[in-house]
């Protein structure tokens, strides 16, 4: 990595975002292929809305209010419909998912969340292998396990945490042996 990821230790969203971003980087280095469909659909929906607004602005600016009244009405409706779909996509479909990817036929979906005023990183990993029922693993660990006092993300403990949390990696990765703070599996249930 060119520069070490750094986060402001006082800002919980930054700790979370930096950790989220590092998951994708780490899994990429381990041969996982990320699937960007969720993000791409969000971008397409969002930018469609922005283009509608941009067009409305242009026609309103060049032709004036009276001539564009009817078109503006339809544009306003279309814009807010696009936004409703976008909101549904973000809350219903993306819902905290920070990584979707696959390797050797196994597909994993990782969602993360934090709770207010609590420096604990919660991960939910849904793993699908062909011919098997998907398994859901929920793990959590304090951010201090992989952020140093200056706010730099230390790769090793973080990667250990991640690889131990993903069922198909936990068995095979050597990092598993250098655990400092063990990720505590909160619950492992068959879904």
């Amino acid at each position: 990595m060119a520069a070490k990821p750094k986060a402001n230790l006082h800002a919980l969203p930054e700790l979370k975002n930096t950790s989220d971003d590092s998951i994708a980087l780490y899994l990429k280095s381990k041969g996982w292929k990320q699937n960007h469909t969720l993000t791409d659909v969000r971008l397409v929906l969002g930018f469609s809305a922005v283009i509608i607004a941009g067009g409305t602005f242009y026609y309103d600016y060049t032709l004036g209010f009276d001539k564009t009244k009817v078109m503006t009405l339809y544009a306003v409706i279309a814009y807010f419909v696009a936004n409703i779909i976008l909101t549904w996509w973000i809350w219903g479909m993306e819902s905290g998912k920070v990584y979707v990817g696959s390797k050797d036929g196994v597909t994993i979906t990782i969602s993360s969340h934090t709770e207010k005023h609590s420096p604990i990183y919660h991960l939910k990993i849904v793993s699908r292998s062909p011919g098997q029922r998907p398994t859901t693993t929920e793990v959590e660990s304090p951010f201090t396990s992989w952020f140093d006092t200056q706010g730099f993300l230390v790769e090793k403990p973080f990667m250990t945490f991640i690889s131990n949390s993903i069922p198909s990696m936990a068995a095979t990765t050597p990092e598993g042996q250098h655990l400092k703070s063990k990720p505590k599996p909160k619950s492992t249930k068959k879904a």
Partner: protein
């Protein structure tokens, strides 16, 4: 530069960068489309205006915010009361660019003539004939009036007076807002 967090932008991958740009664009476009929605609903090109002069004091002071409504004109639907004397209208004289908020003191209308209005500021001694286009004694309701005042919020619009009187503040504010939205992630 790093204090502003710009160095972080360089580490973003294309999709993340696009997401940040989208967040910013959505804030701007949503504000604009809400304005346009209100505009279409009230049928007024400018449904909210800021009072710029003291000619309607003590009712309105500089910086007060006015909400306009431009439907139910007598022209549209005769049975419902449209523009009547005593209403406060906002008009843009053809060829002049400053919206004026004054009270209607006369109206004259016929089946074949447009609704003519004469306006006057409560705080002014003379009526507005002087402000109208040269040679015109009355306003044309349909062409010149952009709405009639229905709602009032004091003082809130003073920010826009400050911004338009000191243009550098506008640039600075836009810049700071843009930067915050791009740099910050929720």
């Amino acid at each position: 530069m790093d204090a502003l967090g710009l160095s972080k932008l360089r580490h973003l991958k294309p999709r993340q960068l696009l997401s940040q740009v989208l967040n910013f664009a959505l804030i701007l476009s949503t504000a604009f489309m809400l304005w346009k929605g209100l505009s279409v609903a009230t049928d007024s090109p400018s449904p909210i205006v800021v009072v710029l002069s003291g000619s309607m004091e003590p009712a309105f002071q500089r910086g007060d915010l006015l909400f306009l409504w431009n439907r139910n004109l007598e022209l549209d639907s005769p049975p419902t009361p449209g523009t009547r004397v005593g209403e406060i209208v906002v008009y843009n004289v053809i060829g002049k660019d400053i919206p004026i908020v004054h009270r209607v003191v006369r109206k004259h209308q016929g089946p074949k003539t447009p609704l003519h209005l004469l306006t006057k500021g409560d705080n002014n001694h003379a009526d507005d004939t002087e402000l109208y286009a040269r040679g015109r004694w009355y306003l044309d309701r349909e062409k010149e009036v952009i709405g009639s005042v229905v709602g009032y919020v004091p003082f809130v619009g003073y920010v826009t007076i400050m911004l338009s009187e000191h243009p550098w503040m506008k640039t600075a504010l836009l810049g700071i807002m843009g930067l915050l939205v791009i740099v910050q992630r929720e």
